[in-house]
Symmetry: C2
């Protein structure tokens, strides 16, 4: 049996403590699997004296994670501090510079500095594991990098933020507003006090940037992601989706098109019968379309201490076994620059909800604006419910579903509809994603 792998863990929040506990609980099994022991020798966190309910006296303590990262007493540095810069970045750089392998759950760090860190790891011949940075306990990084190594991937998409999926699930199931569900998510600890990072789509975008690089062999390019969050979704949209055979999910989608790689995060209508539509609550899911495997879907927990620790420990085990693959599947020098497909060239179906003044000619005018741009309609539903009485100058909701068209055309058509003066509120537009 080889020498133990000596591990230093920086960051002792929920995930850090779960990693310590899991390594402890599975120590014997991991040693047998890896052919060597995995031993945590040192830890670091902001507050040394905080009561964590765990005995930390058997580990060396470092106030400074950078000092831990460079310590000659460790072989592997586990970064669970969080944040794209600051202590997380400094300590990961220090570990790699000292030729130590690194495991991190930090998607913000990866999205921003992943290329440089991967280059550094390659140059030093060490590993950089980040399974836990995307979709929590779902082994999606390993699946893309190794499990589908023989595939040309055409699209990868998924539910990558449990907070948003929880809110959307609750809105549909309980007929609650977005604001009501957000408060509930905060109460349950699923959403942060400042929830904008989740509900604005930024968190999903960080994860998508990583998936894109792995799936298409391109350099990370989070700036090339078109992002829309979920806070403008109304219960009317959720319910209209349901009636039309769809469900609304916040998806991250990366897709190879003739114009380049499209990366986008937005509320999306998915067919209710699709695998991804079945994923409710805080779960995550990722679907991959590829030439050989056709379609593969992974569903599991996207967050939580245990699930994230599962991914962190899998990376640690691979490193203990001696696995030293390039972090993004290919050497950084072999990753292609990401050729961004502009959103204006996005091709797909659209859901459009309009508040239309109930005047003669309104529907005809809208239909004309669509027809002028060869946008054909799958359905058009005027949604006043039976029994509701018409008031003077009232607007009525009209929902359109289009066949596949281009983003540019639909935007032009809607601008023309607005200019015609028939609608009372800005149009709501939600993209449809087909299986």
């Amino acid at each position: 049996m080889q020498l133990p792998l000596r591990v230093g863990v920086a960051g002792l929040g929920t995930v850090g403590l779960a990693v310590l506990e899991l390594l402890d609980r599975q120590a014997a099994a991991l040693a047998a699997r890896c052919g060597r022991k995995i031993t945590v020798v040192a830890v670091s966190a902001k507050e040394a004296r905080k009561e964590r309910g765990v005995d930390l006296s058997r580990f060396a303590w470092f106030d400074d994670p950078v000092a831990l990262a460079g310590s000659p007493d460790i072989d592997l540095f586990v970064e669970l501090i969080g944040g794209a810069d600051g202590a997380a970045l400094a300590s990961v750089e220090a570990a790699l510079a000292a030729s130590k392998s690194v495991v991190t759950a930090n998607k913000a760090l990866l999205a921003k500095h992943g290329m440089r860190l991967a280059e550094l790891a390659e140059a030093k011949g060490v590993a950089l594991g980040f399974e836990a940075s995307v979709a929590g306990g779902i082994p999606i990084v390993k699946t893309l990098r190794e499990g589908l190594a023989g595939n040309a991937i055409t699209r990868v998409y998924g539910i990558l933020n449990g907070t948003c999926n929880y809110i959307l699930s609750r809105m549909e199931m309980e007929h609650l507003t977005f604001a009501e569900c957000l408060v509930e998510a905060q109460r349950l600890g699923y959403a942060e006090a400042d929830p904008n990072f989740d509900i604005g789509g930024e968190d999903t975008a960080h994860k998508l940037a990583i998936l894109t690089a792995l799936a298409f062999g391109t350099r990370l390019d989070p700036e090339a992601i078109a992002i829309e969050g979920i806070k403008d979704l109304s219960l009317a949209d959720i319910e209209a989706a349901s009636e039309l055979g769809y469900r609304i999910k916040l998806l991250g989608v990366a897709q190879r098109t003739t114009a380049g790689i499209e990366q986008r995060v937005h509320p999306t209508m998915v067919p209710r019968s699709s695998a991804i539509a079945q994923v409710m609550g805080i779960a995550n899911a990722v679907t991959i379309d590829a030439d050989a495997v056709h379609e593969l879907t992974l569903v599991g927990p996207g967050a939580g201490g245990d699930a994230t620790a599962s991914a962190v420990v899998a990376d640690i085990a691979d490193i203990a076994k001696g696995l030293r693959a390039p972090p993004f599947g290919l050497p950084v020098a072999a990753l292609a620059p990401l050729q961004r497909a502009p959103m204006q060239m996005h091709e797909g179906g659209y859901y459009i909800r309009l508040s239309v003044y109930d005047r003669p000619g309104a529907a005809a005018a809208i239909a004309t604006r669509m027809a002028e741009r060869s946008i054909s309609l799958e359905s058009i539903v005027q949604r006043r419910r039976p029994g509701e009485r018409k008031k003077a100058a009232e607007s009525v909701p009209v929902v359109l579903i289009t066949h596949a068209t281009y983003e540019k055309l639909i935007r032009e058509a809607l601008a023309a509809v607005v200019a015609d003066g028939f609608i009372a509120e800005p149009p709501q537009l939600i993209r449809i994603e087909r299986e």
Copy 2:
């Protein structure tokens, strides 16, 4: 860049040809991923002259796969011949004996000889890859062996036979009988001329045996699997399941219980809302319950040339990269003997369909037989449809759903019900699997 990995492929059926094509199509990407070229240098099949629509002239030809396996010109032997013994076994043994890594899609071979072959691979320090042997293109072997390395797994279960899932899906969707759907599956090439291996559950059992060893770190023990196929399922069962909020799937289930490891293959009622219930047609799915990741589900194609080739090529790529983990995650010497939990001790809910003579006291007698063994009922439905008229001495269908109980007790209760003389046909019994 290292020397090319020289590959020999034995067996040129659908999968063999798909592997050649995929290695060709992805040659550049694989070379970049693996840091070396993967080059097929030789092939072997039964008939040299058969028209395969592929140019084989660039490969050396071997009439004898054993000679190919031992050839000094190859580093890796890919076995796609099939069958638990014969040429498949002889050639895999020859390759390992000659210190060549092996990749196989052969679940029958693995289930029967996997322990011995893994020992041989370990002794020679070479790899034995079998991702393609279970659930086609789904990377379940890698997920269990590496992705969940830090988890203690409590249960693994899945839809592992696309033919059976296709038949059950069709029965439900089209209200067709088992026999009608089987003929249709044969017409479409989903079922063999002799379908017993699929519909009898044997194929699922081979795959389950492999999953069990990977999930629980035990020795392979296919003889310890309780097997029931799907051929006795009637449309009445499918429809009753549907009305009660369930769907019937042929599952392979391996579960850690206090009595040992339970391995079973049987038609199973799963809640219609579960992830596994959504998997229709020829798809496969595997769900894993574990302490850290909680629940993870993988859904994808369980068969077909392309999907199987995807898994074969992933194994080849890992080997090209130098990965040499023990085939079953642990050295064979560290795998525990499988302690078989007897089916009589299986604990769970049951669906029971009885044809009951419509006589006074029948229902009471049945309920009494259950109550005597403390079996409590979730529901009891007498299923004569409104409008159907009663004939003399007619039997009526009665469907019971029990709460969790033991297989031993339910068998005793049914034997007593039969002995009471109230029922016209042997009882139908289907186990319920909870999420």
